[in-house]
Symmetry: C4
Subunit: 487 residues, 4 copies
């Protein structure tokens, strides 16, 4: 290898075992044997390409530089010989050419006039795997569906005859200035939608003056994303705490150094939910690739959601919040609070904010829609609105949806999937979507008779359509029974 | 030009810029350069035809005489040479011949036996642009759909064994005699449905003894419409207050002189709602016409609804009501009241009536259905029924729908879209629809055991199916939180 | 004519005017000029066949002997010559042969195992006109649909571990013994489904021991129907009071003489509801038959429902009940009571029973479903269950549906449309349907833990799913407004 | 016959009458004349094959050895000659080869990732008869559908930031250790899904550590099933009490000897519900087989459900519970309790548990969903949770569904149909489904923040979406009327 003699695919194909695993990526060959066990996505997804060319699969989820940054230099084996062979297994699996042909089908951006339009385009142009990963939610989609439908059951009570010539949507979010009261909710693996991935999101956010909450599982390294944005732009970092706390500490310190403004600790996914669409794609891939072999799919599935969650610490507890604050020196927001009781706990444990979220319906199917949790705060602990900031996400895809949450006391709303879908157009899509949402929000404000988002108040909405669904704390109307076990 | 030498289309095609803009309409050429900025529909829609023949597009929305009445004589350039050229861009855009072929498909009028029948015919025979403009509502159609579905959830409690041989549906509306307790809600651009537009509506109303509320954005000039009707016939004028108040004053004085009986000031649309079907048609037109060019569609869309709203004063406030009353000398009704609080304000500011309306779901999607606002008045301020007249519209398309509102205290019901759809048959359609609605109303009254519309009372309806959705003033059952900002 | 010389169709075709109208029926020619104005179905339907052969149309709705019984002997003109001409207009209109071909498509009766099965067969085998007449309901079918869906929302609370070896479904209905607590609700024109019409119903009822309530608008004369049954069998007569009271008196006295056991006065249809499916068929017939002519369809439609209601007295009032009782000497039941207030009135005016009915959703669309009226009695005037008998109909098509009403205090349930549909199989169908319903009822009783229908009680049902929809008398929860007019 | 001379089918075909009935099964000929009347499935189903070969029909529902065990030795007539004849009637009826071809269409087991996946496969691969028998429910499927949809309306209120690294789903059920808080609900005739039938269930339960509740109507004899399992494995026996109590006593004593741990007496089906899908298949078979003959289908249908219920004692009462306890010496659970009142009775009569069940919606359509009964216990008699064990079934097909019931106080949940569907893959399917449900349950527990199933409590669920449907005992909110009959 010292002499730089390039290898053919034939040369490496015997290194296809867990004890001896080489893969080729972008015409370079790497020894990933030692890396298998620490790959955040698990060893299995790499072993699928052991002894062969993994370029296409790699590029779908990882940024170009990520490999060099992660592996030690001595893991580089050598270059790959150009080949005019028949397509490799990986090439077949990934359907080469598919991406570009799909991209060419994109309708003109100006014909998209709403967030659902972006979803529609994404459903038709993303690869099946990417679409399944982004759009899927837990089991029967009950919570995913209810998130949106319950927001729709909150009605407006517009006020009239007020001067609405000028309107301001500006709001401070965790101390950061934002042109609007919404931000990009963290979502993993943005490269599945566009090669520029999270960098395109960063550039779009910079131009539109909005905040990006970056996923722990971003396709690009955190520094690359921050570098893609503009000076003074605000970022939050979403955090899955690693079972290996040292790695988390390293990440938090890096984030603080890069100027990230807050840490959104995910607390609603100690284990991943069961996203069946995602797992079905994985199951089918296994079936078609390894035909004849005994498929080793365990009952927990092999979808991307499951794979990426393997390193997450299932034992994270309230006391760890203090550690995260200390290590990062940043305000901490709990993402995934789903009850008034836990919001009260968050105050007690020093969180700067709570994000009412059920992971877009991706964690526990049947979890109550987030708008009900927001109303539960009003019913159970209204003082909490003065004690920390309240964010919310899950099913918000219209400016009017956002206004409803703000009127009910939320500081800001997270918008997740729509931004991933907008990425099919790269940075331009991100900006276009932002302008659409902002225009919808301004229109809704004017039609409600307010000119500053800070004027939004509960009297602008009629919540009677969902009030009967709001849980009552501390006493249920008639259930008094308690189990004997300690709770 | 003095010598009357006619021009060819070739001669005018260079006058196609904002600084130098000619268009041909009905074989006459006009210089509209100065007019561009004061066109109520905005300059863009004219510039589309700059330097070419705009006859077809003009005729769809404007009456023949309207141009001469609006432009100074010196803007007339000359006549257009007859041409046997290939069709112009505008001709292609408007699909010449389309209208007549569609009209010939109309089923016999006597086979239409309900308002939904007219909607069905209109959906199949109007041009896509006209259908989109009339039928569209804001974003996700939540309010548009709920308007109708909530009326349907109000049930009748018919009374029996009363002599119902004769029945009277007559009612005074804002002091005007009407054969029925409903009137035509204002709707813009009736020429899109029929060349006679608002004039056909006027003639139909005259024959049937009902009141027409004329839109500020009518295709025909106000005098032409009033002249089309019969002596003694009653009209209301719907008003969008112009940013240029002098124009509004001029319009109000003209209306008073023409004998109009009341002004319905639109208060629920300081800015237009986002009607996506309407905007999609516009977006597609741009895309197909200017292929290759960079489409300049801003995020606010270019649908007809948006265009026509450009001159509307966004800063209209309560204090302006007095000015409208004074200038016109006419009673003023606020069209678009959506809460009990604003109905109370309307009394305070001297309105003669309020029209509970959400613009047929075209303004703010998510706004509470109008039947809920009517019930909110009962719950919050029942004394208001003695203080001014209450009108209501939005989703009323059956005689029984109308009876429900009257039983709940409404003075009259506005019927909008169904009358536009009936216009596909011109005046005859307007009369046929009126007779259908009146017959349905009479049948419903008889089957409820009443013989005069003034006997209708709340005991005839069971509102339990919607009572739980009615907002509670002044206190919400459990939300006490208030934002810090001034409201 | 004295010489009995037969006529050809050619001979009579000039007698086709209101002033001179002959028709041929079953090879006999009649002068119906004087009869036109007193035809219960109105003159128009006869004039359609003026001067031609009306046999086919006549047979669809009238029994063979009905004409002779109605017309004076001197109206007989003579016999009709056998003809081998081309089919007449009437023949074309009625599509000769259609009926028989459809009948041959009937599936084996034993494959029908529920009332909905009969509906399904009827929808496929009846003529479009008959299907439209039977199945149609008022305007948007809101009440028709809700009748059934609200019964379904009443749940059972079955009791267990009781000896249910033997079970009795016997009940007294208005003093008559019945093998089951349900009876055949009156429905007009049974010949549309089967040539034996109401006679087949009578024979089936006799064999099954159930009561038939005969329609005023039966295809067969009352004596023929009663004669078709067996000795000791019980009948009720449904009554539309005629504007000509003498005719009603004559009918009532004939009924009493024939041994009819009670009079069910229809009080929910002083005018007929608007049944659009029925009217559409009529409108299409006019359009296709008189092509080119100006269709004279008024706005009130020309469906069978409208035609048959022309003679009904719209001025029937409470005081007339006494007259009906006196003239007939029979107990009177008010069919079509729709509120607790009117049930209380019925007691006051001496009715023996009330039938909670909205005419199967055929009268006033939007009227509250009958199950809500039954519950309203419990809420408002529970003492009424001891004061008269309560019957109910509208949407009952399962034995379990029937049990719910009985458990809630109804004496008996009327079953209407299902029996008309069962008539596609004639008498055998009527018996088969009765056995199905009875078996379903017995099974439901056993599974509820009761063995005698008299044991049914409210504790067996859970009405929480509809309780919130029950009207509150005398006070609405928040509506206090009252109109100024006298009510 | 003494000389063992084999018979041809021709030889036996005259023995085809009730008084003289032979059938061939697996190449052996039996005289079943005396057996006809005591066949649990009724005589009719045997007579269908009288004088012919019944092997295929027999094998579908009965285990190989069952016949020898049941009939006396002298009923054996002789062997059947091998035949190369045309297929017999029974062979045609049962479509030989159908089963194997369907089995070959089974997708790979690892691609099934949920209980609904098994249902989907079963619907496509079972014979129509088997699918109809398993999937059918009573009449309009109201209860069957509501069972599931109401569970879905119970929402989770997940708690966060608890250490959920390890999780235990273990629970004692009626004193038996189980790896999970669910067990297999009894379901008849498992051979319809797989030749190994209940034996495959037993082996799967053994490997997974769960309890099987064996149906009285199992395809295999009880000893064969118990023998198929492993040592120490727990079974319950579902019991239909036979009109012939001696047979029941014999069965109970056999069960006790075999080590069965509890008796689940079915109390919600003294007569079978009307399962129309099941009956339709039967009706069609009759129609196609006996074409031309008069079909003798009575109104009670001939579906498998009806046939198998013929021997059930309709007069079982509360006092019989003591007898069952005494004869078996085992704890008795009442399966099919549907009201709080009967749960209280169960305590009084010494039941060890109650199973809230409506027979999967197969008994009385309209019966309240079981989740409502569970909540009724909380509202009416919360002390009952300390007095006996509460089981529940009906529509539970997700781990999250199960957790909801446990949180609301159920000891365990019965899973029925999904296990029958899993049997299409035999034992392997049973284990795969168990692992799926267990994994879903563990995930749901972790996402709710609990680590031991005993920690589940009502505060984890929001029942507001169904609370309004829960019956109120002892007083209804407004119904006070009581029938005069004794109840």
């Amino acid at each position: 290898m010292e002499d730089g003699q390039p290898f053919s695919l034939e040369d490496i194909k015997s290194h296809n075992r867990p004890e001896d695993c080489w893969i080729a990526i972008s015409d370079k060959i790497w020894n990933v044997t030692d890396f298998l066990d620490i790959h955040p996505g698990g060893p299995q997804v790499i072993l699928k390409y052991a002894g062969s060319d993994a370029t296409s699969a790699y590029n779908q989820v990882h940024a170009p530089g990520m490999l060099e940054e992660t592996l030690a230099a001595d893991k580089f084996i050598g270059d790959l010989l150009p080949s005019n062979d028949v397509p490799s297994l990986s090439a077949i699996l990934e359907a080469p050419g598919e991406e570009s042909s799909r991209q060419s089908e994109l309708p003109h951006l100006h014909t998209l006039i709403s967030a659902p339009d972006f979803q529609d385009v994404a459903s038709r142009t993303l690869t099946p795997k990417a679409w399944a990963f982004y759009s899927s939610a837990a089991t029967d989609l009950v919570t995913h569906t209810a998130n949106k439908s319950l927001i729709r059951r909150v009605m407006f009570r517009p006020r009239i005859l007020r001067d609405v010539k000028t309107v301001s949507t500006k709001r401070k979010i965790l101390g950061c200035s934002s042109s609007v009261p919404f931000f990009i909710s963290p979502a993993a693996m943005a490269r599945l939608a566009h090669p520029d991935g999270e960098c395109a999101l960063a550039r779009g956010c910079g131009n539109e003056g909005i905040v990006q909450c970056i996923s722990s599982n971003a396709s690009y390294p955190l520094p690359a994303i921050v570098k893609a944005g503009m000076k003074g732009q605000s970022y939050f970092l979403q955090l899955y705490v690693n079972s290996d706390r040292a790695k988390t500490a390293e990440l938090l310190q890096k984030a603080a150094m890069l100027g990230v403004k807050g840490i959104f600790v995910t607390v609603d996914a100690p284990v991943p939910g069961k996203r069946e669409a995602d797992e079905r794609v994985a199951a089918e891939n296994v079936a078609s690739a390894i035909s004849g072999a005994v498929a080793s799919n365990d009952k927990k599935g092999g979808g991307m959601g499951r794979l990426m969650a393997q390193y997450v610490d299932k034992s994270l507890i309230w006391e760890d919040i203090e550690w995260i604050k200390t290590v990062s020196g940043l305000p901490v927001v709990l993402k995934g609070v789903q009850s008034a009781a836990d919001a009260i706990m968050a105050v007690k444990y020093g969180a700067a904010g709570v994000m009412l979220s059920n992971h877009g319906g991706r964690s526990l199917d049947g979890a109550q829609p987030t708008i009900l949790v927001l109303l539960e705060l009003h019913r159970t602990c209204p003082e909490i609105f003065d004690q920390l900031e309240i964010y919310i996400d899950g099913g918000f895809e219209r400016g009017s949806d956002i206004l409803k949450a703000i009127a009910l006391g939320a500081t800001a709303v997270g918008v997740g999937r729509p931004y991933l879908y907008s990425l099919t157009y790269g940075q331009e899509g991100v900006e276009h979507l932002t302008q659409i949402l902002k225009d919808e929000l301004e229109t809704s404000m004017r039609l409600c008779g307010i000119t500053d988002i800070d004027e939004a108040h509960p009297g602008l909405v009629n919540t009677q359509g969902v009030d009967h669904l709001v849980a009552r704390e501390p006493e249920h109307p008639y259930i008094r029974w308690k189990p004997k076990a300690k709770i």
